[in-house]
């Protein structure tokens, strides 16, 4: 593929449709700047500040704009909250729609046929593939991203994290917990190195 892609890029560049330096900037942004740490910071703020959480659930794009993050977040972002009663999961059955602005590039499994085919029909079996088991009474709410709206899950805040700083809370927020295929880490899993 390397040669085939280079051929296309070369032709498009020589014809003046593409500036290779623009491609460099986009690749670099997704390799270094845009990733799940953005969503984790948003979730940590929501855990720490109930007023922000309410604003986030009402209009996520608007609420996140108030955080003045280095990277802007696009329109029509919707945040949904996981609670003991309801567990939300995000999928795109038709292609691979994903909240890139807050989570970065979608992982391969999110774009894979097993995830796209099974999540709307047997989400608990899909969760089992991630090692997640929920109580039988918990309602499962699956959001199929079939338009230009995008979704992010606000996972439940783990117990025994009262008084934690937002930075410390953010280390418990995993990418999968913001898609709904995982839960936030336990307080005991905190490590100073962090891993969002």
């Amino acid at each position: 593929m390397q040669l085939r892609v280079r051929a296309l890029e070369t032709v498009l560049t020589e014809k003046g449709y593409v500036d290779p330096a623009a491609l460099d900037r986009i690749v670099e942004a997704y390799e270094t700047r845009i990733g799940p740490h953005i969503g984790a910071a948003v979730v940590a703020r929501a855990w720490a500040d109930p007023g922000f959480k309410n604003a986030l659930l009402a209009d996520a794009t608007k609420a996140i704009a108030t955080l003045r993050l280095q990277q802007k977040v696009g329109d029509h972002l919707i945040a949904v909250e996981n609670t003991p009663a309801t567990h939300n999961m995000i999928v795109c059955t038709l292609c691979s729609c994903y909240p890139w602005d807050v989570l970065g590039l979608p992982p391969v499994w999110y774009k894979s046929t097993p995830y796209r085919s099974r999540t709307v029909k047997e989400p608990r079996a899909v969760l089992a593939d991630f090692g997640v088991t929920l109580p039988a009474a918990t309602k499962i709410r699956v959001w199929d991203s079939t338009a230009e709206t995008r979704f992010i899950v606000v996972p439940a805040r783990p117990p025994n994290t009262e008084g934690w700083s937002e930075e410390r809370l953010a280390t418990l927020v995993t990418r999968d917990s913001m898609i709904g295929t995982g839960l936030a880490k336990e307080a005991s899993e905190f490590s100073a190195g962090g891993d969002a």
Binding site: A7, Y17, A22, R25, I26, G74, T93, S117, A136
Partner: protein, 218 residues
């Protein structure tokens, strides 16, 4: 179209396989393909919906056996050829041979960051929304041969309007007619048993984002 891309509810694809410490790209060319697919629509030759349709129209065997970024690459080659931006001979030789087609805009490095934020697809409404939150609706049993965002698993089923998302560019019209013809967009939620029968998980509900022409009063 009733294509291979529309896979909600299909069986037989096996388990989901999460990859620990997955890198952003698994090879350098994947990043180039991603970036090329981000900058080329700015030429004005196609939009996001048309781009999706050209992935859906890949032959099903190619679709199922190609990685995500390979699909994006093949789609881009085919669109560039179809729009007359490049020729097959140029692609084969790896170099430009003839004059470029005049295009609306080219993204230079200084403006590339603008492509990192999602565009807004909302448009002013031309009519009031037909449905209200809480209303019961039925999705149409429709099978257009062109592009649609109403998945097969959710056709001909009764659900409830959960949210009204505003008026948005209508993907079906962009692809079939080349016009935006904005339509009201709703979050419609279905009980799992409505979609999958009485044996389905009773705790499950599933929503889709449905454009108004997909819906009728229940």
């Amino acid at each position: 179209m009733n294509g291979i891309h529309d896979m909600g509810g299909m069986d037989g694809f096996g388990k989901v396989a999460p990859e620990p410490d997955e890198p952003p790209f698994h090879a350098a060319w994947e990043g180039r393909v991603l970036a090329l697919n981000r900058v080329m629509p700015v030429t004005g030759e196609w939009n996001i919906d048309v781009g999706r349709y050209w992935i859906e129209t890949l032959p099903p065997d190619v679709y199922l056996t190609s990685s995500y970024y390979r699909k994006w690459h093949v789609r881009l080659e085919r669109l560039c050829l179809a729009r007359g931006l490049i020729t097959a001979a140029e692609l084969a030789s790896g170099h430009a041979a003839g004059a470029a087609k005049p295009v609306k805009q080219v993204v230079h490095a200084a403006k590339a960051d603008g492509l990192l934020v999602r565009k807004n697809y909302a448009r002013p409404a031309t009519a009031p929304a037909r449905f209200a939150v809480g209303q019961s609706v039925r999705t149409r049993n429709m099978h257009p041969v062109s592009h649609t965002r109403l998945p097969r698993f959710a056709r001909g089923h009764t659900g409830t309007i959960e949210r009204i998302q505003g008026c948005h560019v209508f993907p079906d019209a962009i692809v079939a007619e080349g016009v935006e013809r904005p339509e009201w967009l709703y979050t419609v939620t279905f009980d799992g048993r409505e979609l999958w029968g009485p044996e389905a998980d009773p705790t499950l509900s599933v929503s889709i984002e449905a454009f108004e022409p997909y819906l009728e009063p229940a």
